[in-house]
Amino acid sequence: MAEIIATVESMEQAEMVMKAGADWIYAGEDEFGLRLPHSFDRDELTDLIQAVHAQGKKIVVAVNAIFHNDRIVKVADYLQFLTDLQVDMVSIGDPGAIHLLQQNHFPLPYLYDGADLVTSARQINFWANHGAVAAQVAAEVPYGELKSLQQHVQVPISYLVYGASAIHQSGRPLLDNYFSFVQKHQERTDRQRGLFISAPHKPDTHYSIYEDRNGTHVFATNDVNLMPELTKVHELGIQYWKMDGLFVHGQQFAQIVAAFAHARDALAKGTWTAELAADGQRIVTDNTPVNRETDTGFFDIDPESVK
């Protein structure tokens, strides 16, 4: 049966999403991981890991940043820390971190997560041959390609079934630079500030944008919600359903996780119906923040229509 991986913003939310049916908790510290709902320091992460394991659940810790020299030197120590805490899996996107993992023989299973770069079975198998136990497939890989990809991968894949989809990462502070230029200082340009951009001639679009220590991040105008397509997701046999609560907080995200967990269970039992799908969709809609929308992203895009 598919397993749900859900991000968390706090210990409290972790308890909620585990109760909601998440099998894995996804968390980390922003010095090592990208686009996290909360940056858990080592004390917080220690408590979280213990709480997750106490529930019989598992944890993925994000080590998927693009590392420069100043941070790669800290990665081995961090991986040792995670090893000591018996973390169940780490996500990694920088081959430098994989190099350290292997050189130091850390017994940490890793999920390869190169963000939008993970697009083929052959690439995933390359990482599998370098120790990856799973891979996060790019949200830009549509259903039509996932069918072929799934037939050829050597390790289970994870795929975003709900949440914000990152579409750009810059090393520059693009918001601060802009506000400096127009001399319109803002107290904050971080995720909590909640800024958006819209494309020319498409005033209804609303791409989330924020800055943090890893640069500037831009997200797709609508969050991914594959509730209407879960039959296909189930039939593909995708092992890990990734749920990202970056912009959906507290109990609202837990409700959405619960809806997907119920769907997952029903699909496994063969009791999934159009009515249940409609119920699930209603829960997603009811818990989506008032300034966000969802759609199925690239899932339904015809691969041939992408130039």
Binding site: F126, A138, H206
Partner: protein, 420 residues
């Protein structure tokens, strides 16, 4: 001290020859598949072979960019592609996708592989990972600073290639799919629509339909849209830093750029590298090199991430200001020293009274005003309006076949960090 290669872009066979004639030690080109510049004039295998023969005869190298991030349907045929590239005598391929790296290594053993900047390599552990995989070189991310390169060099032996000139992605290359989401054009498969350079609204959105714009104005009070557009890179004033830091290959961006750009930029950087290698102790940046780069500049120029995180001055914000610029107007076909007559193949309209400049390999220059002009039949004419038209005129200075001509024009440019 090891001389780094000057690596120039070559979108066509003509540009390949020009780049090498104008001092490039190596060029990078695209094949008819797997490259990120689908709109560049990519090379057939026959053209590739011709280009390689031309380059090798002049002790230059040719690299083929195969740097897309492949999806399932792109991979069939990759083995044959790499085998064919190798068969043409190409010196290396530039790849970013591990699926293609592995395919290349297995199907064309012995063909050196360079990791593309699309892979965003920013630390020495990453470089060592790829060296262990058998790669010959890593093209660094444009986000890497000069001190970081120095530090990398202490921890790795792999060849390091770094961008020194040209347009820049505003984001980590490869970690941008704006184009995919805004126009169904895959940025990592040659479809990038440069959405980063668009003009955006920037706003708070308490709830859907309630946009509260935060856009401001420029110094003149004109509305300023939010943009994610970088000025171009120019490291001409910092060549010693790059060489001393241990960079093996100095890369010029621009497979889509013109012959004028390729010849000018290759000429400048090869002159600078030659000058530094000749006498590092007394080396100084020649202001003429900087002036020369401005003649083909499309945007303002900065040093990117080499010395600090770029600020607002490194982005295309604000009103563009007018700068003098130059048009490419022709190529010297022949020079008759006895009559001091030059024969030129026209590339852009020019005529009597125009101030023109000849430039050639080895950073040679000669400026003059056209005082007479004749067509192929020897008839006097005022202008040469036809593309590829052959004309002659009096030129008191000895110029050589292969030298190019440019003329002054006015074009709009933006602010800059590099002195004009």
């Amino acid at each position: 001290m090891k001389r780094p290669e000057v690596l120039a872009p070559a979108g066509t066979l003509e540009k390949l020859k020009v780049a090498i004639d104008y001092g490039a030690d190596a060029v990078y080109i695209g094949g008819d598949a797997y490259g990120l510049r689908t709109r560049a004039g990519n090379f057939s295998f026959d053209q590739m072979k011709t280009g390689v023969e031309y380059a090798h005869a002049r002790h230059a190298k040719v690299y083929v960019a195969a740097n897309i991030v492949a999806h399932e349907q792109d991979l069939p045929g990759a083995e044959d592609f790499f085998r064919n590239v190798q068969a043409q005598g190409v010196d290396a391929v530039i790849v970013s996708d591990p699926a293609l790296i592995e395919t290349c290594i297995l199907s064309a053993p012995g063909l050196p592989v360079h990791l593309s900047t699309q892979a965003s390599s920013c630390n020495w552990e990453t470089l060592n990972f790829w060296q262990d995989e058998g790669l010959e070189r890593v093209v660094l991310a444009r986000e890497v600073g000069i001190e970081e390169i120095r530090e990398m060099r202490k921890h790795t032996d792999i060849q390091i290639e770094a961008f020194i000139h040209g347009a820049m992605c505003i984001g980590y290359s490869g970690r941008c799919v704006l184009s995919n989401h805004m126009g169904l054009r895959d940025a990592n498969r040659g479809g990038c629509a440069q959405n980063c350079r668009w003009k955006y609204d920037l706003f708070d959105l308490p709830q859907l339909g309630d946009k509260q714009s935060l856009l401001g104005t420029d110094d003149n009070g004109k509305p300023e849209a939010f943009s994610m557009s970088a000025v171009d890179m120019a490291m001409i004033e910092h060549i010693p830093d790059l060489i001393d830091a241990g960079v093996d290959s100095l890369k010029i961006e621009g497979r889509m750029k013109t012959v004028h750009y390729v010849s000018t930029v290759a000429n400048v950087y090869s002159a600078a590298v030659d000058a530094y290698m000749r006498d590092p102790e007394h080396y100084q940046t020649d202001p003429a090199w900087v002036d020369e780069l401005w003649k083909v500049a499309q945007r303002g120029m900065s040093t990117g991430f080499y010395y600090d995180t770029p600020d607002e001055q490194d982005e295309l914000l604000g009103e563009q200001r007018k700068r003098p610029s130059y048009a490419f107007i022709g190529e010297v076909e022949h020079y008759d020293a006895a009559t001091q007559t030059v024969t030129v193949q026209q590339r852009n309209n020019f005529g009597v009274g125009d101030h023109i400049e000849f430039y050639g390999p080895g950073f040679t220059h000669y400026a003059m005003t056209v005082e007479d002009l004749h067509d192929e039949d020897g008839e006097a004419i005022d202008r040469a309006p036809h593309a590829m038209q052959i004309v002659t005129f009096h030129c008191p200075h000895r110029v050589a076949p292969g030298d190019f001509l440019r003329g002054l024009k006015v074009r709009r440019h933006t602010r800059t960090h590099v002195q004009a």
